[in-house]
């Protein structure tokens, strides 16, 4: 057979095999068979030099053209097959994305602590410091320095746990205010979070509970400052619409003394059957007032020069309201079903 025809034949055969190849390995075999060192086409190319000059051009051109075509087909088919194979591999690698990931389990923060952190952060933003003190406290710091001397009827307001003569589990965090005032000069702006204890146990009282108290002593502090501060704090913790209301009250360490109510952030007072405020429209948040001059004098501050306000709130109760928790006792049982919700 004449070389050009043979070349044409080889080219057609090669192209057909390329098209039929099912894998890159098959293609490699095709390449070796038609373009390899000992392939017929290669042999033809090698033999060109020995051809008569008039044939060289024709055979050389046909051979190069043919091998070029085959190479081209090989390369494009290789690319095709490689792509298909890559795709296939990815397909095989597919996972069930609905299976869970590697667990990085989330723990939780106690709801009361969450409220305490929020309240503390709010006051830190206003320039308050945070003060702490012991839970086993002396009679003096817990009562007498707060204008509740022995025999004062107000001692009966707080059922006290006694540890030793003159030693109690603190009934409020107010002794921290005393300790701080005794060690610092005014102006003074502090919040005091901590655990407190009263001899009381029923569905709405636990013998231990959390408190956050605050104290601001400066020149020209007024009840309006207390009201403004507590209103802003309530909006921070309960949301933008919360309003507050003060009612008269009595504490031996403040004069005037007030109770703090926050408007119900759930119903705003519009729902007589509201689960949060029971239709009252207001939620009791704590007590407050202007620091009694007897307390200021006791710590060596001049009550004519300085005035101050103090307040105390129950973060446990605030958390009950904020998260809709019906029972205070849940707070201190370590029940994971409860804790993990926060």
């Amino acid at each position: 057979m004449a070389a050009p025809e043979r070349i044409e034949e080889l080219k057609s055969a090669a192209l057909a095999e390329v098209a039929a190849a099912g894998s890159t390995a098959d293609l490699e075999a095709v390449r070796i068979r038609y373009l390899g060192r000992s392939a017929e086409l290669t042999e033809i190319k090698k033999s060109i030099g020995s051809l008569p000059p008039e044939e060289r051009r024709e055979v050389g051109g046909a051979a190069n053209l043919a091998s070029g075509k085959v190479e081209e087909a090989l390369s494009s088919r290789t690319e095709e097959l490689a792509a298909a194979e890559r795709e296939g591999r990815l397909r095989r690698e597919a996972v069930d994305v609905t299976l869970p990931g590697v667990p990085y389990e989330r723990g939780s923060l106690h709801p009361s602590q969450r409220v305490i952190d929020e309240v503390v952060d709010f006051f830190v933003g206003l320039g308050y410091g945070v003060a702490e003190g012991p839970e086993v406290e002396t009679d003096y710091y817990n009562f007498t320095a707060l204008n509740i001397p022995p025999g004062h009827p107000a001692r009966g307001m707080q059922d006290t746990f006694f540890v030793d003569e003159g030693l109690v589990l603190r009934t409020h965090t107010s002794p921290v205010q005393i300790r701080t005032m005794l060690s610092q000069e005014p102006p003074l702006y502090i919040v005091c979070p901590g655990k407190t204890y009263r001899r009381d146990s029923d569905p709405t009282h636990t013998p231990m509970f959390n408190q956050v108290e605050g104290l601001a002593v400066d020149r020209g502090i007024t009840l309006s400052h207390l009201k403004g501060t507590l209103a802003a704090m309530s909006r921070h913790v309960f949301g933008g619409d919360a309003g507050i209301r003060l009612r008269p009250s009595y504490f031996p360490f403040t004069e005037p003394s007030v109770e703090l109510d926050v408007s119900c952030f759930v119903c705003g007072g519009d729902d007589p059957g509201c689960r949060v405020c029971k239709g009252a429209g207001w939620l009791e948040m704590g007590g407050a007032g202007m620091v009694d001059p007897a307390v200021l004098s006791e710590v060596g501050y001049d009550p004519e020069e300085y005035t101050g306000f103090a307040f105390g709130m129950g973060p446990d109760r605030m958390a009950m309201v904020k998260y809709g928790i019906p029972d205070l006792r849940l707070f201190f049982e370590g029940d994971l079903r409860f804790l993990r919700q926060f």
Binding site: L109, F161, G166, M208, G228, T229, P252
Partner: protein, 821 residues
């Protein structure tokens, strides 16, 4: 304090709904706990006369009556059998509504029409008596509304009176307060009575303990009609105010107390021998009180006695000896003021609180005695037919004087943060019973003796402020410019809490006091054992007696509770205080007590610590891993509580901590699986598996439990120290396996390595520990991976030299057989 609104109408006029009244009282004075209704809420009750009365033909338990309502005879079906023809009864007419919400209609009861209902005392709000229909006497005119005689409905406000306002423990005080709030007139009826009874001074009066009894008045009322019961109008008020009618004499004293706030006691004069003596109890004196209990008294307690024996525990409760009985016709009425603190202490020591002691302990006004004395005299005459003596005996050596307090308006404005008008302030104070004069630009306020709580300027400011209205106070923020923020330790605790939560633990708060079981189950002695815990003297129950010395028992209890709820395990943490006894040395006991009671201590005395406090209180962060913290997943093994799980947490909280096997592990820890945690040589706490027997005792059975407890001050949750320059010189890693005795600890190997002065060694870690085949019995293979880095790329010789030094050292120190890979 329960306040029937009909009673207030004796002293002022008002026209507000009970709900509005409650709100107003809460906003301007005292908290109102509730509003309660009795009797007929709306409608009509008339006096009827029973004409015929007989059994209901269709029902065994019902009766039927024909009742004359004054010109109209109606048929009424009744549930009680006590009326009879001719008896007068209250009949509530159809269309009326009872306080419990029932609405009355003309109705057929078992086939017979009933026009309204004949009423029991309970249905009228007179008492709890529901045995029969209330029978009225002849003074009730047939056909007239019963309300002409006494109110058939009542609304009671329940006030929560603050301890500074004993004046509000009587209806008169509440009425005065309400009048001030409503800015209306208040009137106080003058007691009127005739005299002519036996003379009081036939008895003596001797006050021996004047310091406990500022005033003691005695009046005799004789010729009392024995027996019977108090008039309905009086009884129903007592009932609405929460007291039980006893008999006419006692009812009268109680009624006058509710009205005035002044407790009053009546003695049967015939049983009093010689006269009344107010004295301290004799040591060990025993007295049988009206509640039947026999109390042993001491010299700190005040008794009212006659010449022979105690007749009453002053201000608390009467004794049986001179008790008024139904046959009593002659009484000595005591109206007195006892020192409040003494009454408080006596009632606290005996665990006996009464209506009287609750009032006295707040400190009553001796000036109020006169009015109350006259008022009860009037009542004893009106409702018991008694004849008051003309004379009274009185011990009142130092009459109370009204105090005078100055009020500067600018000071009021400063405290309240709102404008206060001169006239407004004066008017508000006058409405409370003060007299006000203007002097030198300030108000000179004469405070009535019944307001003993108003002694200083800010006390007056409070009164003015609340009566103007706290809603008038504007909202402002103080203009402070102080740097605030958390201190470093506070910030650290917050980071610790967040970190532990992020590591999968749940924050919990547990009670710091627990039962004796805690101590025993942890492996200590009981709560009372020597060296035992700090104890609460008056716990709510024995369950809360011992203060915790570690956070562990609370966490273990919590784990056990969770286990009982069906979980398979969990992870908890708590930040809280623990308490250790630190009793002051014998020679400092006195100083300690002084410090505790007065805050005073000698210069140079150590007070910052626990020395005078007697309790050492420390902050702790504790964690507990229990059972299967996380079950196996499709791609993860289960996460069970164990030593290394807990240790890993500690390593995260305190990077660089050193873990030492404890010399002697606390009894609650597994002795072979626990460690002391050291930070820079200081003991920071412990970590370990809980002793299996302790876990068992806490009800955790077959669960593995691991825990840690650390001093937060030594934790470093965010351990950033500064910048270390980066090196681009490649590091060389070399592994080494050493076979050592099974008892050699990895930490010892690492310590030995780090003791070598090897500047090229950049790090070493243990990556495998193996015991078993190919390793001789009693030995183990520990595989270590070393990282070397120099200032320039290290040569093989340099690295080999280092590795030779290391293996040589380990062979020498531990007889280690070295296999290099």
């Amino acid at each position: 304090m329960r306040v029937p609104l009909s009673w207030l109408h004796d002293y002022l006029d008002f026209d507000l709904s009970p709900e509005r009244l409650a709100e107003v009282f809460s906003l301007y004075s005292q908290e109102v706990d509730g509003v309660e209704r009795f009797g007929v809420a709306s409608g009509e009750v008339v006096v009827g006369e029973v004409r015929e009365f007989g059994p209901h033909p269709n029902a065994d338990k019902l009766s039927v009556a024909q009742v004359d309502l004054g010109g109209q005879v109606v048929q009424v079906v009744a549930g009680a059998p006590n009326p009879y023809p001719g008896s007068r009864v209250p009949v509530v007419l159809p269309g009326s509504t009872l306080s419990d919400g029932r609405k009355l209609r003309k109705a057929k009861l078992r086939g017979l029409e009933s026009y309204g209902m004949m009423m029991s005392e309970r249905e009228l709000g007179i008492s709890d008596d529901h045995e029969g229909i209330l029978l009225l006497d002849d003074t009730y005119e047939v056909g007239r509304p019963v309300d002409d005689y006494f109110p058939t409905g009542e609304v009671v406000l329940e006030l929560d009176i603050t301890p500074n306002r004993p004046d509000l423990w009587g209806m008169i005080g509440v009425a005065r307060e309400l009048a001030a709030i409503l800015r209306t007139d208040f009137r106080l009826p003058e007691p009127v009575f005739g005299t002519g009874g036996e003379r009081t001074r036939e008895y003596g009066l001797r006050v021996e303990a004047g310091e406990l009894c500022p005033r003691y008045d005695l009046r005799r009322v004789s010729g009392l009609a024995p027996g019977g019961e108090s008039p309905v109008a009086l009884r129903r008020r007592l009932f609405a105010a929460g007291m039980r009618p006893v008999g006419p004499v006692v009812d009268a004293t109680n009624y006058a107390m509710l009205e005035t706030g002044q407790p009053i006691h009546a003695f049967d004069a015939e049983k009093v021998r010689g006269g009344i003596v107010v004295r301290r109890a004799w040591e060990g004196e025993e007295v049988e009180l009206l509640d039947g209990s026999v109390r042993a008294l001491d010299g700190g307690m005040l008794v009212i006695a006659d010449e022979e024996r105690a007749l009453a525990l002053a201000g608390v409760m009467g004794a049986g000896e001179a008790e008024v009985s139904p046959g009593t016709t002659d009484v000595l009425v005591e109206v007195a003021t006892f020192e409040g603190r003494n009454v408080l202490e006596t009632s606290a020591r005996l665990g006996l609180r009464t209506d009287a002691s609750g009032r006295f302990e707040r400190g009553l006004d001796p000036e109020a005695v006169g009015y109350a004395r006259d008022r009860v005299t009037q009542l004893l005459q009106e409702s018991c037919g008694g004849s008051p003596a003309e004379d009274t005996l009185s011990h009142y050596p130092d009459p109370a004087e009204p105090s005078v307090v100055s009020l500067r308006l600018e000071r009021a404005e400063l405290l309240l943060g709102m404008p206060v008008e001169d006239d407004e302030a004066a008017d508000r104070l006058k409405s409370l019973g003060c007299k006000v004069r203007r002097e030198d630009g300030r108000l000179r306020v004469t405070v009535p003796t019944f307001r003993g709580d108003l002694t200083r300027e800010p006390d007056l400011v409070e009164e003015v402020g609340r009566l103007i209205g706290l809603d008038q106070v504007p909202e402002e923020l103080p203009a402070s410019a102080l740097p605030g923020g958390l201190t470093e330790p506070q910030e650290r605790v917050r980071l610790l809490r967040r970190l532990l939560a992020d590591l999968g633990l749940s924050e919990t708060i547990t009670y710091p006091f627990g039962p004796d079981r805690w101590e025993r189950d942890l492996g200590f002695g009981g709560g009372d054992a020597p060296g035992g815990p700090v104890q609460v003297r008056n716990p709510l129950s024995a369950e809360g007696r011992n203060l915790r010395r570690t956070l562990l028992p609370g966490l273990l209890d919590a784990a056990a509770r969770n286990r009982s709820y069906g979980v398979r395990g969990g992870a908890l943490f708590e930040v809280g205080r623990v308490f250790d006894p630190a009793p002051p040395p014998e020679d400092r006991r006195e100083a300690a007590l002084q410090f505790r009671m007065t805050g005073e201590y000698d210069a140079g005395e150590e007070v910052s610590g626990s020395r005078l406090l007697g309790v050492e209180e420390r902050g702790r962060v504790g964690g507990l891993l229990a059972g299967t913290v996380r079950p196996a997943g499709w791609n993860m093994p289960e996460y069970r509580a164990g030593f290394f799980e807990a240790k890993g947490l500690v390593e995260r909280l305190v990077p660089g901590a050193v873990f030492l096997p404890p010399g002697e592990a606390p009894p609650f820890l597994h002795p072979g699986r626990s460690a002391t945690v050291l930070v820079d040589g200081a003991e920071a706490g412990w970590v370990g598996e809980v002793h299996p027997e302790a876990a068992e005792r806490f009800g955790l059975g077959d669960w593995s439990v691991a825990a840690f407890e650390l001093d937060p001050a030594l934790c470093r949750p965010d351990p950033v120290t500064g910048f270390t320059p980066l090196s681009n010189v490649p590091a060389v890693n070399m592994d080494l396996a050493v076979v050592v005795g099974a008892g050699v600890r990895a930490g010892e190997l690492l310590e030995e390595v780090s003791a070598l002065d090897t500047p090229l060694l950049a790090g070493v870690r243990v990556f495998d520990v193996y015991e078993g085949a190919q390793v001789p019995e009693g030995r183990k293979s520990v595989a270590l991976s070393f990282t070397f880095r120099g200032e320039e790329t290290l040569t093989d010789e340099q690295v080999k030299e280092e590795m030779d030094r290391i293996s040589g050292r380990l062979s020498e120190a531990f007889g280690a057989e070295v296999r290099r890979s």
